[in-house]
């Protein structure tokens, strides 16, 4: 079953602009993670935010989490052409065990030079 729903499905911006991707989920979570995937490759972990956190930063990335709305957003500031990739949110559902994550369908980000 799909837990995370991402919006938009695709985003096209110019270099230097900010990119915002949103993720909504349905059940209570322990944490929410964002991953990046370059075309045809494996996923790379970007950032993890716990259910008791509201905002987290890592370099040009800013993640927010609103557990009352069951939603999260990933902001990439001052985007670069190298940020072109697919971005996935993944949720760790509360009450599940053994480290399972449920992934959304992803947002395809294209950054034009």
């Amino acid at each position: 079953s799909q837990q995370g729903e991402e919006d938009p499905q695709a985003l096209s911006i110019q270099e230097g602009e900010n990119a915002t991707m949103n993720c909504s989920y349905k059940t209570s979570i322990n944490n929410l993670q964002w991953y990046r995937q370059n075309s045809g490759r494996g996923l790379v972990h970007l950032i993890l935010i716990r259910s008791n956190e509201r905002e987290k930063h890592s370099g040009r990335l800013r993640v927010t989490l609103d557990t009352s709305k069951k939603s999260s957003s990933l902001l990439i500031t001052a985007s670069r052409a190298a940020d072109t990739a697919s971005y996935f949110c993944a949720t760790d559902e509360a009450g599940t065990s053994y480290g399972k994550l449920t992934f959304g369908q992803g947002t395809i980000l294209t950054v034009h030079p």
Partner: protein, 115 residues
Amino acid sequence: DVKVTQSSRYLVKRTGEKVFLECVQDMDHENMFWYRQDPGLGLRLIYFSYDVKMKEKGDIPEGYSVSREKKERFSLILESASTNQTSMYLCASSFLGRGSTDTQYFGPGTRLTVL
């Protein structure tokens, strides 16, 4: 750095063949996972394992089996490959975590085509 390797980047098999996809991690992770990724469907969990010889079904286990004889190695087996199993297969591993899920580390993927 954590390294997760998969035995093949590209694989072409015929319908009915038995297919083995191998995954090896070098970080002593307890958890290992097999996903398939299809356009528009995201990543779907096939099977996962939290210990040697232990396995749990994911969301789409039909047509697949797995083997974990050693901690570092997790194999996905297609007993009789079918064309609807043409997909990108991704392996991942993680620590067991304490009360919540830890980061997953992914291999580069195997693109399997079944003719």
